[in-house]
Symmetry: C2
DNA sequence: ATGAAAGCGCTAACAA
DNA sequence: TTGTTAGCGCTTTCAT
């Protein structure tokens, strides 16, 4: 306790107890049983260690053992309910395994992703969870060269196992429910316009969702015009512009809007906030993502909540099995009706 | 590049180039100018390093230099807009300084806070940012014993400098604005009931906010009954119950509600979601925290957005100045009117 | 302008 | 049952 300026090491404890450094090491790292250290010795060492505020230097241990006990995760952003829920689940799983979780956001920037992963590798993370990366395969190359196991989440890669949401299925039920809502609250016509805003056309998830959207629209409406679909970016600002374009095109708000992610929704709302409240009497929104507050707006918002716990649990299982083949596991999401607030997670 | 199973080290590069390990180290760590390494030598070494996919082992470096380049931050939770925005700002500041940010959530659990901080210390973090801790001073004791600089955010401590929001001021203007809204949308009477829900009575921020709430209520209404104030927990579930109690007591929804944080708001909404929509025609809500979606509900929600960037910037400045005296810096928050969506951060 | 060598704190053979 | 020693990969005197 009196040690103010330098950390206590096993050598300090060694001197204090008269035991050798290796005995101290064993006593303090939990391996003493298998090293047949006398229980009394071990207990005494632990006692002294406690009295002196000893904590192991995990850098030294990591250097020696060539593994750090750190598990890394990269996410596109923190300020998003979906990703932060993943962070939460990730920490829980890591903690349950006695590992130290390190989460870094990479802002959907491939260069930042690369830099961050290199940094994490330099800190000798034992494994890496890659969430929604723009280029998971590039990361796989980095990881492969240093034998770090990797699992992708949210967006799949071809060089590492992936756990993703069954986006086609989710977008289908969301679109169907949205159309039902449009029928109920909308203008009433079979030709009430329905739009799609948000996401990258080229990313897998968006692609699946658009496919499902189009398919359902085809089945129930005979189709949807291409210019009713905006998928240029995950940047909220882009969606603000898209919403404006949509309203110009439509001469007002449409009866139905499929919003691809809460990112896009934020952008759309930024535009909506300028419109008079009466304009919203007929619109229904389907949002592919869940946010508790969004379910409680002044027009119906149907949401899809991805099953984050299960995704993360699955990811850890795959990791523990060696993360070998790059196979894709799909998890089904849940539909959340407007003004419904499921238990927090 | 061909190195599959083991990481390239400076010794590999040393052999490959014929230079000594120390020269390689200097060339690769950027200290070569001051060591008067010939530029040609340095460049060649860097070239070879690049070709072989060399990345430094930061654990080894950290062990040797006794500082890791890691900066730690603990937050109560990830799944909250305010905290995740802080995470975002923290990462930005850390990155700008070439440091690696490590953010861990501690779930408002003092024991978890202690364990996590100990772990971070074991990884030799260079400094620690403590957000909304239940017991910042206990953490200060841990940090002091190993000479780690600490700054508290959101909730102040007495043993390390703190950067917090000017909660009294923020809660005053929020209450005033809420009363204005109640006057406009409420039943019309001077005696429209106004309630307060959320937070811990004993924590500094809640205390300040309740004080401000009471003061304004006194000034404008002559006071507020004690049983109109619920401050038992940050757990959304507690707020669900509080909302129910409130409505029982009131025989319906009150005209005004001061909600202390989005955590509480989530809980309140969970109860609200069971009520018929018409019931909400007269209620106004003031929420001490900002969430983009919450500003867009079917009744007016006035919010306070804490100035996260400035708080974090200030925290880093204090850290860089040595984080000496435990003085408290207060930052003023911003009022956000209903249906207003400021730029994302 | 560069090399040799020590050592950061720990663990794991190998001895005893 | 315990001690001795080497070495993880790096930086940093001190030599040269």
């Amino acid at each position: 306790m009196e040690n103010i300026s330098k950390k206590t090491t096993i050598y300090d404890i060694s001197k204090l107890t008269g035991a050798s450094p290796s005995t101290v090491s064993a006593a303090l790292s939990g391996t003493w049983r298998s090293r047949r250290i006398k229980e009394a010795t071990a207990l005494k060492i632990q006692q002294v260690a406690r009295e002196n505020g000893y904590t192991p230097n995990l850098q030294a241990r990591g250097l020696r053992k060539a593994r750090s006990g750190l598990v890394g995760m990269i996410v596109p952003a923190h300020t998003n309910r979906y990703f932060s829920t993943l962070s939460n689940a990730f920490e829980a799983e890591a903690r349950a395994r006695g590992l130290c979780p390190v989460i870094v956001s990479t802002l959907r920037d491939p260069e930042e992703e690369r830099r961050t992963v290199e940094t994490l590798i330099s800190y000798a993370i034992d494994s890496l969870f890659v969430v929604g990366a723009t280029n998971p395969d590039a990361i796989s190359d980095l990881c492969a060269s240093v034998n770090i196991k990797q699992v992708n989440l949210d967006l799949p890669g071809t060089k590492a196992p992936s756990v993703i949401t069954d986006d086609y299925w989710g977008a289908r039920i969301l679109t169907q429910e949205l159309l039902r809502s449009v029928k109920k609250h909308g203008g009433g016509g079979e030709d009430d316009p329905v739009y799609f805003i948000g996401g990258f056309q080229s990313d897998y998830a968006t692609d699946q969702r658009i496919k499902a959207f189009k398919d359902v629209m085809k089945e129930e409406r005979g189709g949807v015009p291409d210019n009713h679909i905006f998928a240029n970016s995950y940047d909220p600002n882009a969606s603000t512009l898209d919403a404006e374009t949509m309203c110009k095109l439509e001469g007002g708000l449409p009866s139905g809007l499929f919003v691809n992610s809460t990112f896009a929704f934020e952008g759309v709302l930024r535009y909506f906030s300028k419109l008079p409240r009466e304009d919203f009497s007929k619109i229904s929104v389907g949002c592919y993502d869940y946010d508790p507050f969004a379910s409680f707006m002044h027009f119906p918002v149907i949401m899809v909540r991805q099953n984050v716990q299960e995704m993360m649990k699955e990811a850890f299982i795959i990791m523990e099995n060696g993360a070998l083949e790059p196979k894709v596991t799909e998890i089904k999401p849940t539909l959340i009706q407007p003004r419904t607030m499921p238990e927090a997670r």
